[in-house]
């Protein structure tokens, strides 16, 4: 059975890109913001969360914190235009498993996902 990935990005085109890249190997669910992602995660189990950290409404980092409060297990990949050093984004490294920066390298994305998800 395919592993399940939850993609959370406010930009529709980015969600579509990630889905198109990964849908042949995994079962993909999309969320348009952190709030929606949180709702979905409490309802069903996912094997991986790919999330943008700059989103209107619930900020990505806040969403990660809340998700971790409920689910310690789920691997998380941050996919963002932020470069960590440049933008002083403080992420607890224990909370996340990998970073992907935008623009996205498709091959690297596939590799990182495979690495984290372990398949």
């Amino acid at each position: 059975m395919n592993k399940k990935i939850l993609i959370c990005d406010d930009e529709e085109s980015i969600r579509l890109l990630l889905t198109e890249t990964l849908k042949d190997y995994y079962t993909i669910t999309e969320a348009a913001d952190g709030h929606e992602a949180l709702k979905l995660i409490t309802k069903e189990n996912f094997d991986l969360l790919i999330i943008d950290i700059k989103m209107p409404g619930t900020h990505g980092l806040e969403a990660i914190e809340r998700i971790r409060e409920r689910n310690q297990e789920i691997p998380i990949i941050i996919c963002s235009a932020y470069r960590l050093m440049e933008d002083d984004i403080i992420v607890k490294t224990s909370d996340v498993n990998a970073f992907i920066t935008k623009p996205i390298d498709i091959k690297q994305l596939k590799m990182k996902v495979a690495e984290v998800i372990g398949s």
């Binding site: 406010d10 085109s13 980015i14 890109l17 198109e20 890249t21 209107p56 623009p103 498709i106």
Partner: protein, 541 residues
Amino acid sequence: MVIIIKNMNKKILLSLRFVLIFATIMVLNYSHNGLNVLSPGYTLALIYLLSNLILFFIPEKTLNRNIASFSIFLFDILTISLAIYFSQGAQTDLYLVYFLVIFMASVGQNMNGSIPIAIVACLIYGWIIYRANPGISLLDSRILIRIPFLFMIALFSSYWSQSTRRELKKKEELERFNRELEKEVARVVAEEIELRQYSEKIINCVSSGVIAIRDDGVITTLNPEALRVFDLTTDAVGFNINQYEFLFPLWEKMQATVASQSTVARDEITLKIQSREVPIGFSLSPISGATGRFSGCVAIFKDLSEIRALEQQLKHAEQLGYIGKMASWVAHEIRNPLTAIDGFAQLLETTVDHDKIMKYSSEIHKGSQRISYIIEDILAFARTKRKIEYMEVDLKKIIESIAKSMPNIKINVSGILSPVCQGESESLRRIFINLISNSAEAIDENGQIWIDFKEAEGHIITEIRDNGSGISDEDLKKMFTPFFTRKQRGTGLGLSIVIKILKEHGGRIEIDSKKGLGTTCRVFIPTNATRETVNNKKEEM
């Protein structure tokens, strides 16, 4: 003699009496009987001398009393009369001593004192003469000349002493008055100095510059701040303004103020002080003195150099901040569509599936469109003033075409049939696209938009009303700030662009909103905007 009268004190009285006693003794000595120890004249002289020694111990205050001095002079008269009697000297010159006593009495007591003394002296002397020469005729020279003479001496000397006394009194009063006047003058001068120092202190501690110039151009006041700003020394006070050419612009304004006799609350000029341009903010008030001696004008001013420099810095910082904000916004806005374009291009490389190729190409197109839309917004926002190609524009047609492109939104159009104004069709279209999109995003599935046209005071008023979520008061304040957005897909430039276009057209916008009830925008566009009026309005903005 004046001094003696003025200070008819104990010492002088005693001294004069010694002279009197001495004269009496001398006359007794050279009299017919002579002066020997056994004669009564000798005892009399001794008593007389003793009396003077006793007086020496009597306090001056007591002696100065009228009754006391009158008694003393009476005693003198009696003593001298006795001396004449004892010396059998009605024929001698002893009667001359009477003159001395009468004179002393006049000096010490004035007429009230000297006349009675003179009367007593006359009576006693008359009696003595009568005793010595019984049956003497009244026409005898000793009675006819000596006695009236005693009276005359009493009258003259007391008149003289009284008038001298009066003059003295007058002089004393005058002197006292002078002393008081001097004191008063000194007090007024001291007060004046204190007052002047006080006002000087006030003027000197004012942090603004103060300069006062008289009508004739003479500088009368310069406080330390004025000296600092004008780079002058205190010597400048008292000089004519003509010597300080750099102050002419200020002097001209001051003269105008004097001429109109009206104050200037706030004005600004730039003075060239030591080849440095110094902006000065000032207020002017005419001074009108009662005598006109000090009438002129006073200027209170501030050196604005520092404020201007700070303003410049702030403006610069603001501009930099603005550019930084713009740059980060552009980077962020463009990165997402760029990521999509780049990603789908990579995916294109990996597929030959026709459907996928179509889908990916379409996404790439969408991303490019998004970027071009962002660039358009930036350009529209950053565009400098430009000439508008004026044409007749039917706003109703624009609205209808926008409504057609939003089939899911219920838009109700009402009002005048042909709301025609002058303007640039595409720019005006952009205004309404932005505003209607805002409304469309604010409403839910039950929401509606009402658009109404009116014409009033040379404007077409387009009212766009929705029953959407409305705007909070806090957000309403920030509405027109560039890059402020409450929307997920907003650039934050929409309303800034609307305002910019409206300004170019000489129009304006009003926005009312209640959180939870909806928003109403009223757009005012001139119907017959001639280029001039538009240009004028542009200048105002």
